[in-house]
């Protein structure tokens, strides 16, 4: 092999190596495809408008509860974790009769099935149908159950993907209330 050929081979190898290295760097530093499931761009933002007439014919507007905690829960009657967490929502609702409210939004479900779900499992909080899926998309809901905690002032402070417990939600509430007092 001549000296010129050796130079060409080295140049081509170095170029290919650099390109491959570039791809590795890009792939290693980009965001994970599954990472979106555990984050929400809504945290720290004003809660999207959620207002309408509930299944119990009462009107609900999240803006009317800006002095309370609001737990927005996306659920489906066919979803087993939703069924399991329902008593926890009921518990949290009882604990926060004065300073909080739960609102449920069926996701990928019919009004009839949502009514049947509440008739079977109980719960006296507002249930709003998301006809054109505007709220589901505004909250970036992927699969039920998903819950969003809105603090007094209308800021989204936490998101849970999957089954929640009343204690888990209260840990966030107590933590934020303690921080507010310390300030």
């Amino acid at each position: 092999m001549t000296a010129r050929n050796v130079g060409t081979v080295r140049f081509v190898s170095a170029t290919v190596g650099l390109i491959l290295f570039g791809f590795v760097v890009v792939l290693a530093t980009r965001e994970s495809g599954t990472g979106t499931a555990s984050r929400s761009p809504l945290i720290g933002q004003l809660v999207p408008a959620v207002a309408g007439v509930g299944l119990n014919e009462a009107t609900f507007d999240v803006d009317d509860f800006s002095d309370r905690w609001v737990l927005i829960n996306f659920f489906a009657s066919w979803c087993v974790p939703c069924e399991r967490e329902h008593p926890e929502l009921d518990d949290w609702s009882r604990r926060h009769k004065k300073d909080g409210v739960v609102v449920s939004i069926p996701f990928g479900d019919t009004e009839e099935d949502a009514r049947a779900f509440f008739a079977e499992h109980g719960g006296d909080w507002p249930v709003l149908m998301d006809g054109d899926a505007a709220w589901a998309v505004a909250f970036g809901v992927l699969r039920p159950p998903e819950s969003f905690l809105v603090g007094p002032g209308g800021i989204v402070v936490a998101k849970w993907q999957g089954q929640i417990t009343a204690d888990e939600v209260d840990r966030v509430v107590n933590d934020l209330e303690r921080k507010a007092v310390d300030r």
Partner: protein, 152 residues
Amino acid sequence: MKQRHWISWFCVALVASLALVAASIADDPPATDGERAYEIKATTLCPVCDGQNVLESNAPVAAAIRAQVDELVSEGRSDEEIRGWMARQYGKDVNANPPRTGIASLVWIAPVFVAVASAAFLVFAFRKWRVGRGAQLSDDDLKIVSSLREPT
């Protein structure tokens, strides 16, 4: 004269490549809102499925995105606004078409670069072979050939 000949071929190849790239990137604008919504849904990936777009998927989130695309199209929102909104809500990976800016634009640029580089390499190699064919044989070369051709 020979150099001018090559420049002409290079220009023809360049124009043809650019035309191909432009034709593959430029899309005919959809005629109706329905077509526009269909196009957006076909190029928006279901965020909880493996490689399925929201048009093909039965997941509730895909149904939600389909309903919202219809709603936003009927409100007169532009394609960019709708795609931007979905990317903000579900992450930029829901866009099946990689963006044409930033590092992701490499997906569009790299194939063209590789095609041009490969063509240039082939031209270079063919020319080198042609030059090699016209080389004069030395006496030593002829001796080696004749010794090899002698019957053993």
